[in-house]
């Protein structure tokens, strides 16, 4: 090979390996922040404690309230996004004329391009007051409206990715189903959805991962109170919100407070990392099936 070719390839390689440095950087930052933290706080206490008051005089370091808050908003979001998103995916794939599909899909995807602060604003100033009309006990900051709005925000993740997965099922299967006299509904649920199931699962996992990591929406609308509860009507705090809250206070470097955000970040990273890898793994398996 010519020398210039070698040099160019080397430079390109360097650019590609920077991505590994980023991962190493993330892990290093999270660990170097967390390890000193875990030297002071036992890991057992951290993952089983139900009180989280690291900023107070009487310090408790149980991450469970933040995990519960994260779980709650995520669960609500998925409860909204999954049925809506999947139905839309099937509708677009099996029922909608191509013109409708090619307009609706991008329009729905607009939902995913809107910055999340905007959703936070909307949840806080419109959705919560609206819901308070039905649920008088609903606090101003709550997991419910943050979760619902987040659910709508991630509809396109599920609808578009699932739609892609269903579209990727070989056309011949659909034709076989129609050729046997199936209705569109039968074609969808008896043939297409089962065949696309791994792709659909991937979309849902990615949506969960997205919901777990969502920050500004919950920081604005869900509250900032770590609380070990699954009650959607009261203020809670997610892992991400906690990091924002401490960051806003402009954390003094090296303090225990500063380290809690890395410990919390580590938990968040582990969750999303597991979800992302799971989805990647399923996707790989699924691609092999149809190649």
């Amino acid at each position: 090979m010519k020398l210039s070719e070698k040099i160019i390839e080397g430079l390109l390689w360097l650019a590609a390996t920077i991505t590994i440095l980023v991962t190493i950087g993330i892990i290093w930052v999270l660990l170097s922040g967390s390890i000193p933290f875990f030297q002071k706080v036992s890991i057992i206490e951290f993952i089983t404690g139900t009180e989280w008051t690291p900023l107070f005089a009487k310090k408790e370091f149980g991450i469970l309230p933040l995990v519960a808050g994260t779980f709650l908003t995520t669960a609500i979001a998925i409860a909204v996004a999954l049925p809506l998103g999947l139905t839309i995916a099937i509708y677009l794939n099996e029922y909608a004329p191509a013109r409708l599909k090619s307009t609706i899909k991008p329009v729905l995807e607009v939902l995913a391009t809107i910055p999340t602060v905007v959703y936070g604003f909307f949840a806080l100033t419109v959705v919560t007051p609206f819901l308070q009309g039905f649920i008088p006990n609903l606090a101003g900051f709550n997991a419910l409206s943050a979760g619902i709005v987040m659910g709508i925000m991630i509809i396109p993740m599920i609808s578009s990715l699932s739609e892609d997965a269903i579209s990727a099922v070989p056309k011949s299967l659909r034709e076989a189903a129609y050729g046997m006299g199936s209705t569109r509904l039968q074609t969808a649920f008896k043939v297409m959805v089962p065949a696309a199931s791994s792709g659909i699962i991937v979309s849902v996992i990615l949506a969960i991962s997205r919901a777990v990591g969502e920050t500004m929406l919950v920081a604005i609308a869900a509250g900032q109170q770590p609380r070990f509860t699954l009650n959607p009507l009261v203020p809670i705090e997610t892992i991400t919100t906690y990091i924002v809250q401490v960051s806003l206070g402009d954390v003094p470097h090296g303090s225990l407070e500063y380290r809690t955000i890395f410990a919390a970040g580590l938990v968040l990273f582990v969750f999303t990392f597991a979800l992302n890898n799971l989805s990647f793994w399923i996707k790989k398996k699924y691609q092999e099936k149809y190649d």
Binding site: E9, A15, I18, V22, I88, A96, L108, T240, F262, L268
Partner: protein, 285 residues
């Protein structure tokens, strides 16, 4: 009722339900846009765009915020695009199916799914503290660059994938080297797609607030940044700040700033979609 009619009724029923679900999404979107427009549109005027922040909502403007946003966009582009496109080219055109290649691929897929706030922690520790950049534009832009890097890489790869293998083969068969083929044939053919992805990644960067909050971009910054070392604020953070204020006038400001932010986001996405469509029309393989 025969089975067959029952099947057809179910079929129709699901069709109606599908339309209903779609409408929920659309109505929500419309409600959001209408609400924000009705709240904020009247507030937007020249003064709003050119005023510094103020304690009085009515005097407060978004000059520093959009100037900061602009700075961030430019700096992020300069850092993320060369890196991301090079990495994408390497992965798509140069790697064989080695362990290393699949490791890189998993790694990038993972990075794409890392929550943005984690990137904030990375930026805080590496750029702000270790490298001593402080809460500067540069630190913010570097953080966002890493955040959008996976998007740039993935879309670059997809655009390269969309270039038919026959183009490469045609070039190789004429004695072209790998880089000649990549540079003279593949990249030009993929240009539109790459540009689309690049713009999409910018639109993502424009809307991000969380990582910038963590790297410390939330000061009262009553001046327009003049160098990459200056402190800064951006539109989403300005919105976040105003949203967290209880006074109604500030919420109006927030709505108005949201309109500007959405304008930028939609503009970028619009350009991207336009380019994509144009590209698809131009080249029919």
């Amino acid at each position: 009722m025969t089975n067959s009619t029952r099947n057809r009724i179910k079929d129709k029923a699901f069709q109606v339900f599908g339309i209903f679900c779609m409408l929920i999404g659309l109505v929500f979107l419309a409600a959001l846009l209408i609400n924000i427009l009705s709240e904020g549109l009247a507030r937007i005027d020249w003064d709003f765009l050119t005023s510094l922040p103020s304690r009085r909502a009515s005097r407060s403007g978004i000059l520093t915020a959009w100037a900061g946003t602009l700075w961030i966009l430019v700096l992020t582009s300069l850092i993320a695009f060369p890196l991301g496109i090079s990495a994408g080219v390497y992965l798509e055109e140069y790697t064989k199916k080695t362990k290393m290649a699949s490791f890189l691929e998993i790694n990038i897929a993972n990075l794409a799914g890392v929550p943005s706030i984690i990137y904030g922690l990375l930026g805080l520790e590496i750029f702000v503290r270790q490298m001593g950049m402080g809460s500067s534009l540069l630190a913010g832009a570097m953080t966002l660059s890493l955040l959008v890097l996976p998007i740039v890489i993935v879309t670059t790869r997809e655009s390269l994938k969309a270039v038919p293998q026959t183009v490469r083969q045609g070039s190789f068969a004429l004695g072209a080297t790998k880089w000649q083929t990549t540079w003279l044939q593949v990249l030009p053919a993929a240009f539109g797609g790459i540009l689309t992805g690049v713009i999409m990644s910018l639109s993502r960067a424009v809307g991000e607030a969380a990582p910038l909050v963590v790297v410390g971009a939330l000061a009262y910054v009553p001046f327009v940044p003049s160098s990459p070392n200056d402190e800064f604020t951006v539109l989403p953070i300005q919105i976040f700040n105003w949203t967290s204020r209880p006074q109604a006038e500030f919420l109006v400001n927030a709505a108005a700033a949201i309109i500007m932010l959405l304008l930028i986001t939609f503009l970028l996405n619009g350009i991207a979609v336009y380019l994509r469509n144009k590209q698809q029309k131009k080249i029919k393989w």
